[in-house]
């Protein structure tokens, strides 16, 4: 009896030991950071949660009442842009020394999502300024450039990212804007098209080619201010995100001092490629917010509107449609936040960013389209603001890399892995 018990005890002990060793071995194969508790993607820091609440309130109370007017007039209210600056939302990742909020990339994503819930036009203003313009200075600017430009961008000067041209969109590196060295200046000539924020911006990041014979290896990134002589030409009249200005820019012998080259001459293509990754996660967040905003507007209505003696949202057909939309939004959100966290961890996130942007734009269009149908006639009229989300969603599949470009990127990763 004694013996058996002793044997049983030792077996138990050694199996526990073995299990422990197994666990330890498994843990050893992870990186040190992963042995900390692994959190779900719904985990945010306290600051991130406070930011989400704060932006939600700002969006609902300050932006909300103006959404329709800005859309109908195709004009962003300057008070809204000022509000974004005052709330510290235009220097989210910028260091405190440069007047920024020194927060995480995910914080920027949260702000973009919450703004988009109320107005995707306002969201894109914040997105382009933070994920494209600010990040370029933070990553590729010299200390002097950072000291000069980041504080202005954090405090009150709106930035614009100028890459696309009439003849080059997806084929970005076929751009034709030229920069020619003249003494200690660069003279820039050419046109940019489809430029977000351009009507209100004062600081412009312009991609121009200094030596077309070198192909894309001549592309260089320059910073210029409006008062250097940038001509803001035609403002586009668009289907959606109408309040966000999209203009054509003309550069006619625009003189830019040589210290305004960001990064190295001829390395602009690298900046463009790398920065668009972060921009994609930003757009994904905008689309997630858009889908959520449309959902939040239409679904409560379906529980109030009764036909045939019951709220229409309780009919099974409607309930299934609503449930599917909820699944889609959650999936798009998880893709987006995972891409953001991967970036914060220093992991490669190109594929994930492409997936998030592609899928979120699909979900945005689908959910906002359904939202109109759920609300019926009321969804079709402009008064409730539901239809606006559908119009706004279309751009998601187009800008910052069309859906086909995203699929191309993803396919290349798959090919590399599987062939």
């Amino acid at each position: 009896m004694h013996r058996a018990a002793a044997v049983a005890r030792s077996v138990k002990a050694s199996s526990v030991l073995r299990a422990g060793l197994r666990q330890h071995a498994a843990a050893r194969s992870f990186s040190a950071s992963a042995t900390a508790r692994l959190n779900s993607l719904s985990t945010y820091t306290e600051d991130e949660e406070m930011l989400r609440e704060s932006v939600q309130r700002f969006a609902n109370e300050v932006v909300g009442p103006k959404v329709r007017e800005m859309d109908e007039n195709e004009m962003m209210d300057p008070a809204v842009i000022k509000g974004l600056f005052d709330q510290g939302l235009m220097g989210i990742e910028t260091s405190a020394d440069h007047g920024g909020s020194e927060s995480s990339f995910t914080s920027a994503i949260i702000a973009i999502e919450e703004l988009a819930r109320v107005d995707p036009s306002v969201s894109v203003v914040c997105d382009v300024h933070n994920t494209l313009v600010n990040t370029i200075f933070r990553k590729y600017g010299t200390k002097d450039q950072q000291d000069k430009w980041l504080p202005q961008l954090a405090e009150n000067k709106l930035g614009s990212f100028c890459l696309s041209e009439p003849a080059s969109g997806s084929d970005a590196f076929a751009l034709q804007t030229r920069a020619k060295k003249d003494g200690s200046n660069w003279i820039i000539n050419g046109s940019k098209m489809w430029i977000t924020n351009s009507y209100e911006a004062e600081i412009f990041l312009i991609f121009a080619n200094v030596d077309p014979a070198q192909g894309y290896k001549g592309i260089t990134c320059f910073v210029a201010t409006k008062d250097m002589g940038i001509q803001i030409a035609k403002k586009e009249q668009k289907l959606g995100i109408r309040a966000s200005s999209t203009c054509t820019l003309n550069f006619d012998d625009l003189k830019v001092p040589e210290e305004n080259v960001i990064g190295e001459v001829g390395k602009g293509y690298k900046i463009a490629i790398e920065i668009l990754n972060e921009g994609r996660v930003g757009i994904a967040a905008q689309m997630v917010g858009l889908a959520q905003g449309a959902f939040d507007k239409a679904v409560p209505y379906t529980y109030q509107r009764s036909q045939f003696g019951q709220p229409i949202g309780t009919f099974q057909g409607m309930a299934f449609s609503i449930a599917k939309a909820a699944v889609d939004i959650e999936s798009a959100r998880l893709l987006t936040y995972n891409a953001a966290r991967r970036k914060e961890e220093g992991k490669s996130f190109t594929k994930e960013a492409a997936m998030a942007k592609y899928w979120s734009s699909v979900v945005a269009q689908e959910v906002s389209g359904n939202a109109i149908e759920w609300a019926g006639g009321v969804g079709f009229t402009r008064e409730t603001g539901i239809e606006k989300y559908w119009r706004d969603s279309k751009i998601g599949a187009i800008y910052e890399g069309t859906s086909n470009i995203q699929l191309n990127t993803i396919a290349k990763f798959v090919q590399k892995e599987y062939s």
């Binding site: 704060s54 700002f58 109370e61 709330q87 510290g88 405190a96 920024g100 909020s101 927060s103």
Partner: protein
């Protein structure tokens, strides 16, 4: 004659974490209260109180020496303190109660605040509270605190002007008949009404700054206060659903129906 030194004000703002005002409240199945598994945030009147303190500092500048916020609540209530710090308060005090414990009642809160004020080495000159919490709508804490401390009180304030030299405040109160303006000597207990101000949003830089501001943790026993409720809630129900009314043909019929319903005031 030497002017009397401007007394530096120490302001205390008690805040409460309540169910968010936008939530659709539902009675819980046990009928003992409402479902609390919903979004919570700072009591809106308390936000107004924090905002008023921050505005006082913006107006009086260095004359406002410190703005401390205090809450009595479960661990999660520290988030509410952080929001207040992000709005501009300097430091927080968290009197932590266990998660499952019942919500403290106004008298208990007032006694705890009294203990905290007595503890404060620098003293407290101004306590600004929300006029009521939106969960219990009691509207008692400020008044009870003033009574316990023997201080002036000015409730339902819609405007506050503080004179640090005279150590006075003139307060406009919203009362049933309209507005009343009173002059009070410091130290003073104020409760805020809706029209006092519009609270600011916590901007991102301030949220980040709030991380470095200190929060002192205390327990009720540290203060020598018993927060056990003295009231027992017997039952919580929703108001009865509205049923349709009846149409009558004449006033006589109406009077008859009222009589039949036992409304004896009808002759």
């Amino acid at each position: 004659m030497r002017p009397s030194a401007v007394r530096l004000l120490n302001v205390l703002v008690p805040i409460k974490r309540t169910i968010d005002y936008a939530v659709k409240i539902r009675v819980n199945p046990q009928q003992t209260g409402v479902d609390t598994n919903v979004k919570h945030s700072m009591n809106p009147f308390d936000e107004i109180a924090v905002e008023e303190a921050v505005r006082l500092r913006e107006k009086l500048k260095d004359a406002v020496k410190s703005i401390k916020v205090i809450t009595i609540g479960p661990p999660k209530a520290s988030e509410t303190l952080r929001t207040a710090l992000a709005m501009g308060a300097d430091a927080g005090i968290h009197v932590e109660v266990p998660e499952a414990s019942p919500s403290p009642e106004p008298l208990g809160v007032a006694k705890a605040l009294q203990a905290v004020i007595k503890r404060e080495k620098e003293g407290v000159d101004l306590v600004i509270l929300g006029k009521q919490a939106i969960d219990d709508d009691a509207g008692q804490t400020g008044q009870m605190l003033a009574g316990l401390m023997g201080w002036s009180q000015a409730t339902f304030a819609s405007k506050i002007v503080v004179d640090t030299e005279k150590k006075e405040a003139s307060v406009t109160r919203e009362i049933d008949g309209g507005l009343e303006e009173i002059r009070c000597r410091l130290p003073l207990v104020l409760t805020t009404d809706l029209r006092l101000n519009e609270p600011r949003y916590a901007s991102l830089p301030n949220i980040m700054k709030a991380k470095k501001k200190p929060i002192e943790k205390l327990s009720a026993s540290d203060l020598g206060v018993d927060l056990t409720p003295i009231l027992e809630t017997l039952k919580v129900t929703e108001p009865p659903k509205r049923t349709g009314g009846q149409k009558v043909e004449s006033v006589d019929e109406l009077v008859q129906k009222l009589k039949d319903a036992g409304i004896t005031a009808v002759a």
